[in-house]
Symmetry: C2
Subunit: 167 residues, 2 copies
DNA sequence: TACGGCTTGTTCAAATTTGAACTAACCACT
DNA sequence: AGTGGTTAGTTCAAATTTGAACAAGCCGTA
């Protein structure tokens, strides 16, 4: 194994600030959503993703994949949303195993009612504090990171493809 | 109330990528830490913050504030770490109520043993994919966001200070 | 010294999240 | 049709996280 490359002062400052910002923002978002609509952030994201799609429906696995949450976690949250009448489950015609999560009319209204305040929080603490160039840089950075993680297989990091360990 | 300023395409792309990257990275970090040391990310951060300080100790409330977790959450995690012998509790001499979380020798060794792989993950999926300029921009962005959220009081957003509502 | 008002840390119940185990269904190939 | 290997979604137990309630200690002021 190679010697550890520790983080530089600048890198460390970035990483610590990133962690803090993420947690602080998450807390602000949760607080706002709870007060204004009784939704959690996870639930809001489910409604938002569904609303972006034709027929406002998505298969469970696909939705979980996009939200980066576990399948069981999604099952739980869809249950909560269903209980509140914001989402319905529909079996998939072409695949007997499949389940569509479908946004209801009321779910759509709830989302429309909640979105403005939610967007306001994201703007107030992040987006409106950035220059257009910073928004663009951040978009590029995050998109790169997502691509890297979606491409890389799970498990230990390798500098070379699996099975090529020197011996 | 003013009309909602929705996110532009670029802003939305940034926000969605940010959420995905955050969750994906968190998952990668959790997986690596679990495999290599049996620690959670929260626990690792506790050890890391303690190690940065003289005497490797911090008061509970201060530690919770820095990590952006609840006091009860910290109580729980310190309990876990104490059970594993990585941390000890010490009462504060100058304040009978106070409790210091103290990194033990074993905790220190655990951290040293674990840190290289942890840093490797953060590098592999984020830092090493950024140019020095991007690191700097990201540091600036995140630092700004943290400052904004630490300064702003909890509760609904206001464009003007409290008590100044027009009427 | 005694008295409110805060602050500290813990306990507790409730909500959420995850991975493992499981059932059912799909699919390629015989 | 039958078989083995995969995928979809749920159920379950265990771990974690939070806010509210609480007991104890601090502190300025009467």
């Amino acid at each position: 194994m190679s010697e550890t490359r520790w983080l530089s002062e600048s890198e460390m400052a970035m990483w610590v600030a990133y962690l803090s910002a993420t947690h602080l923002l998450e807390r602000r978002i949760e607080d706002q959503l709870k007060v204004d609509s009784g939704l959690t952030h996870a639930q809001y994201e489910i409604l938002a993703r569904l609303s972006e799609h034709p027929d406002a429906r998505l298969r469970m696995t696909e939705l979980a994949r996009r939200l980066i949450i576990s399948k069981s976690g999604l099952t739980y949250q869809i249950g909560q949303l269903e209980r509140r009448g914001l989402v319905t489950r529909t079996t998939c015609p072409s695949d007997e195993r499949g389940v569509f999560a479908v946004l209801t009319e009321e779910g759509s209204r709830c989302l429309e009612r909640t979105a403005p305040e939610h967007v306001a929080v994201v703007r107030a603490f992040l987006i409106d504090r950035l220059t257009p160039e910073e928004v663009e840089t951040m978009r590029r950075i995050m998109t790169k990171a997502v691509a890297a993680m979606e491409a890389a297989p799970a498990g230990p990091l390798r500098s070379s493809p699996p099975g090529k360990s020197p011996g």
